[in-house]
């Protein structure tokens, strides 16, 4: 039985790469290559001037990508329909990670977020990135596993799906990571909408989000610095030293690129480290300055291709579970990319989320590539 299983898998893997969406793969590889160059450019001059290895970030980023691709391929090995069986485990692992990160001694705080788990050897994991997958897969399962014969999820299905999402979301709120909460929240609404659930749910959830955001500010769940960030988005002069500075520098850096940019590795703003966190949250400014409109619009178009391919896969999916997983991944990527790129250009508030597939960061890169793996998995199993 086990030998049979393994030959079957090998056989399947052979057909698997053929089953991948080549356009999706090409777009993802394109973004990964661009991201690698941008991370290298963002850190090369900085590390060189400090007398450190200028390729430090480059090497680690490439390792992250290699591990991420391995994880993505691993994700595609097992038929996603079989994956359903593991969903509770995935979900529980995500929640456990989020709990662990809050425990002093295990979790580590960076930039005001209790978001990291440090392993010996300088290895760090951000459970929130993997929790995103847990939520998407968990919700999709509950919304597609019908306990009844209806064509659409019942109120009970929706409620239990919401509960599945709410537990990790609450844990993320405690870190606190408002950016991720908002992105996951919006993804949740999109998953429920596509699941065919009564539209009352969608409308109600949107209202709840607005109300929740309002009370969060009132009650004080939203920290002072988060408010400042939001204020400085509306009025950059409100906090000129910190977030206002970042937003202004970031906008100037993108704007100074012009049509063709200053050339890769040649951006004076980038090399002068005028934009903080440039290899992670503000990576898009490197593209803006050094690659100009031509290069940075390429990134946006590659993202759009990934999203359209993802929605196409969702539409063609054999079953609701596959469709919801795909929509979840697309919504997550799209909202996160929009928030991140919008932030660097001053049209979205500073929330501190990485740019999918491009920003430096292991956990994020792993989660992103697992997400892509899920899309390819569903694509490989659809007919025609």
């Amino acid at each position: 039985m086990s030998s049979l299983y393994s030959t079957k898998t090998r056989k399947r893997r052979g057909s698997l790469t053929r089953g991948f969406d080549p356009i999706l793969s090409a777009a993802v590889v394109g973004l990964l290559i661009m991201g690698t160059l941008l991370v290298y450019s963002a850190t090369k001059a900085w590390y060189a001037s400090a007398g450190l290895d200028p390729q430090y970030y480059l090497k680690r980023h490439v390792i992250n990508i290699v591990i991420g691709i391995a994880l993505a391929l691993g994700t595609t090995v097992i038929d996603y329909r079989l994956l359903r069986a593991y969903t509770p485990v995935i979900w529980a692992a995500g929640v456990l990670g989020l709990i662990a990160v809050l425990i002093p001694g295990i979790g580590k705080s960076v930039n005001g977020h209790q978001a990291w788990i440090a392993f010996p050897g300088g290895f760090q994991v951000q459970p929130v990135e993997l929790a995103k997958i847990s939520i998407i897969v968990g919700m999709s399962l509950l919304l597609s596993e019908r306990m009844h014969d209806g064509d659409e999820p019942s109120h009970r299905d929706v409620l239990s799906a919401l509960l599945i999402a709410a537990i990790p979301i609450l844990l993320i709120l405690l870190q606190p990571d408002m950016g991720t909460v908002m992105i996951i929240g919006a993804s949740v609404v999109m998953i429920i909408a596509v699941s065919g659930a009564p539209s009352r749910w969608v409308v109600g959830l949107l209202l709840l989000a607005i109300l929740g955001g309002f009370t969060a500010v009132k009650v004080g769940v939203v920290k002072d610095y988060q408010l400042k960030r939001l204020q400085s988005f509306v009025n950059p002069a409100a906090d000129p030293q910190q977030s206002g500075y970042q937003l202004r520098q970031s906008r100037i850096t993108v704007g100074s690129g012009g049509l063709a940019g200053k050339g890769l590795f040649k951006g004076p703003q980038t090399n002068g480290r005028f934009v903080p966190e440039q290899q992670t949250d503000f990576i898009f400014t490197v593209a803006g300055e050094e690659l100009g409109f031509l290069g940075s619009s390429t990134i946006i178009i590659l993202f759009l291709i990934i999203f359209l391919r993802g929605i196409r896969i969702a539409r063609r999916s054999q079953d609701l579970f596959g469709r919801l997983v795909c929509i979840g991944v697309v919504a997550w990527f799209a909202l996160q990319a929009f928030e991140n790129i919008g932030m660097t250009m001053g049209v979205m508030p500073l929330l501190g989320v990485p740019l999918p597939l491009i920003s430096y960061g292991g956990s994020s890169m792993f989660a992103n590539l697992i997400g892509i793996g899920l899309l390819q998995n569903v694509h490989a199993r659809q007919r025609g």
Binding site: A45, S49, D151, E152, M190, A193, V194, S195, G196, S199, V202, Q249, R251, I252, T253, V254, G255, S256, G257, G258, L259, P268, Q269, N271, G272, R273, F274, G288, E289, G292, F293, S296, S297, I300, I301, F303, L304, F307, L308, I311, A314, R315, L320, R323, I327, V330, A331, A334, L335, F338, I341, G342, M345, V347
Partner: protein, 695 residues
């Protein structure tokens, strides 16, 4: 897939497409739509210009002796961006620095204040630059004290010391020439906003007055600019542009250091003599011109000041003294800016006017003690009644009454109080011909034009003051409501728009509202001496590069011709020689071995001094020599100095003694300054002559 699900998928897809299109739109707006704006913003964040000032060119006299050069000084500077952050705003550190350097704290405090921070009244000596430059407390610190500051940086946070180029006026042969040379200083916001503003760099010093200002564009050179790209920590990441400084060019002037020094000394002595004789003598001026070329050989103004005091660090007292009445307003260049009634020196104009009106210059005229004009009796000022004398003698003894008659007659012929439409106005047109009321056009800033009180001026003056004089009893302060002044005001109200007989009479002897500068008088008499050419006096002769190439020459221009016939000028020259032979200047020049010509002038000044005393007379002497072939024009004026013959003529004699090498009553061979006239060839400023000397 149910319908709702399909629809939701479509909505999701549309939403995502529009989000991405929104990003593309914003990206287009930032990078293409307003790309240059952000490019400029980025550049200003990243680039810093480091300006190395160019070595300023020398100013030399006609034989190459330096009047202005550069040397290395040790500047002690304050960094306001550090001082302001100290709990006491840097007071303690500045006090300690003042004590170390032996300066007054008040001076140090003022030097380190931006001018904008100080009230208008106490701004002299404040810093005209910005807060972000090192502000010099002094540029001439004692090296051992400067070293203490550098070594004990912990004791003097925000204070630094560095070698800087200091503009230096070496005062060779005791020459001062402060008003001529001017000074250099840091750029002000006003300089940056001016027409030349675009050529300046923030940390540059520029010429602020005198020749330093006039020829700044040549002298300044081009500062070196190193543009560096910096990172967020202000660490230099790379150099984007290096422009090496180009040293300024040298200015060759027609001045002569020895003559300038002698002129200054003669003037100071004249003032001292006037004071010893009991006069106020609040100031004076002397001018020496080359009548054949229009070049300026020397100009002095008294009182003067040390031209080096700006670079040493002006003290509060020095700054206020410059403009203080108590010290005689040394900042005022009396040669170019002082306006005085010309008095009898004006008679050169009157002779030309009378000759043009047809009066016989070889005839005889009666010179009574006084002449009745209307209801007023006009007296001779410098001379008594002389009976009937020749015109030549009338000039020599400076008879006024002749001119009262002629001027009054001409005024009547022109229609008196109801002037004819085509009045001859011989006196006014002669004065216009001498260019009275116009600047000489000398190549120095801030020259006054003087005033020609002709009919047009009178009318303009009346329109401005009519209301005041017609309401005098209401408007004037009580102290000025004397019977005489009230009567005068009434007169001015009634016919103040017209030239009255008294005005015409006053005009002919250089009294009244017509005023000129000493330089103007020199220009006028130089024209008499050279046969009628009015030169635009010029100090700058040429610009030489540091390797001796002449890149510009400034040739004086003839800007007019005296409105006098050859015979009139010949007569006038003879009459002016007679002044020195037998007239008002005869005693002063008795025994002088070189024939010179001249004219004394003693101008009455209306008004009171601060202490209530009546203003003293302006003492004038204008002259040229040698009489047979005039080459030099020499003018001296001492304000409130007394009689022209007593004070100024003696001063002018001293200047001639230096010029011609006269000791006692003898010309000493080889002692004359210019045995064959002022040098015509430009001096070679050899490359070995250092533009920067070390102390």
């Amino acid at each position: 897939m149910n319908e709702r699900s399909r629809l939701s998928l479509l909505v999701t897809q549309t939403l995502i497409i529009s989000l991405m299109l929104a990003l593309l739109g914003r990206l287009f707006y930032l990078q293409i739509g307003s790309g240059t704006k952000y490019k400029d913003a980025a550049l200003s964040i990243q680039s810093r210009d480091i300006v190395t000032p160019a070595t300023r060119g020398l100013i030399v006299d006609s034989s190459g002796v330096p009047l202005a050069l550069n040397r290395v000084g040790l500047a002690v500077t304050a960094d306001r961006s550090i001082l302001d952050k100290q709990p006491d705003k840097g007071v303690g550190v500045l006090k300690k620095t003042a004590t170390l350097l032996g300066l007054k704290y008040a001076d140090v405090y003022l030097h380190t204040r931006l001018c904008g921070e100080m009230p208008k009244t106490v701004q002299a000596g404040c810093w005209t630059g910005t807060r972000y430059q090192p502000i010099p407390i002094t540029k001439d610190a004692d090296p051992s004290k400067a070293l203490q500051i550098v070594e004990r940086a912990d004791l003097y946070p925000g204070i630094d010391s560095m070698p800087v180029a200091v503009r230096s006026y070496p005062g060779i042969d005791g020459v001062n020439a402060a008003h001529l040379l001017g000074y250099v200083g840091p750029l002000t916001a006003a300089d940056l906003a001016s027409v030349n503003g675009a050529h300046y760099y923030r940390s540059e010093s520029i010429g602020k007055a005198g020749l330093e200002y006039q020829y700044d564009s040549y002298l300044r050179g081009k500062p070196g600019v190193r543009t560096v790209i910096v990172d967020r920590q202000e660490a230099v990441t790379r150099q984007s542009r290096i422009v090496k400084p180009v040293a300024g060019n040298h200015l060759v002037t027609s001045l002569d250091v020895r003559l300038q020094a002698a002129t200054e000394k003669a003037l100071a002595d004249a003032v001292a003599r006037a004071r010893a004789a009991g006069n106020v003598a609040d100031g004076g001026a002397a001018v020496v011109l080359d009548v054949k070329t229009g070049r300026v050989l020397a100009i002095a103004s008294y009182p003067t000041y040390d031209p080096n005091m700006w670079e040493k660090g002006l003290t509060v007292k020095q700054a206020s003294d410059l403009f203080s009445e108590a010290t005689g307003v040394p900042a005022l260049d009396r040669a170019l800016q002082g306006l005085y009634a010309p008095a009898s020196t004006f008679k050169a104009v009157s002779v030309v006017a009378a000759a043009n009106a047809g009066y016989n210059m070889n005839g005889t005229y009666s010179c009574p003690a006084s002449v009745q004009v209307g209801t007023t009796l006009f007296h001779n000022f410098e001379s008594r009644a002389q009976g009937t004398i020749t015109m030549r003698d009338a000039i020599a003894v400076s008879c006024d009454t002749i001119w009262y008659r002629i001027a009054f007659d001409e005024w009547l012929k022109d229609g008196g109080l109801s002037p004819k439409k085509n009045a001859h106005d011989y006196f006014f047109s002669a004065a216009r011909g001498f260019q009275i009321g116009k600047k000489t056009g000398i190549d120095l800033p801030a020259e006054s034009s003087g005033r020609l009180a002709d009919r047009a001026w009178r009318l303009a003056w009346y329109q401005q003051n009519k209301n005041y004089y017609c309401n005098y009893t209401k408007r004037a302060p009580k102290s000025q409501q004397t019977a005489f002044l009230v009567a005068l005001a009434k007169e001015n109200c009634v016919d103040g728009d017209k030239i009255r007989g008294g005005d015409a009479v006053n005009f002919s002897i250089g009294q009244g509202d017509t005023v000129i500068t000493p330089l103007k008088l020199a220009q006028m008499y130089a024209a008499v001496a050279n046969g009628g050419k009015i030169w635009q006096p010029t100090v700058g002769e040429a610009i030489e590069t540091t390797d001796g190439k002449v890149i510009a020459r400034f040739a004086p221009k003839v800007i007019g011709k005296l409105p006098a016939s050859k015979s009139t000028l010949t007569f006038l020259q003879g009459a002016l020689r007679q002044v020195v032979i037998s007239g008002t200047a005869a005693a002063t020049f008795s025994g002088f071995p070189v024939a010179v010509s001249g004219k004394t002038g003693t101008a009455e000044v209306f008004g009171l001094n601060k202490n209530g005393s009546k203003k003293g007379n302006t003492s004038w002497f204008t002259s040229f020599g040698p009489s047979e072939n005039p080459r030099y024009e020499v003018v001296m004026m001492v304000s409130q100095g007394g009689f022209g013959s007593d004070i100024s003529a003696v001063g002018v004699r001293h200047i001639y003694e230096t010029l011609f090498g006269v000791v006692g009553n003898k010309v000493v061979p080889g002692k004359a300054l210019f045995p064959s006239g002022p040098p015509t060839a430009l001096p070679r400023i050899s490359p070995t002559m250092k533009t920067v000397t070390t102390p």
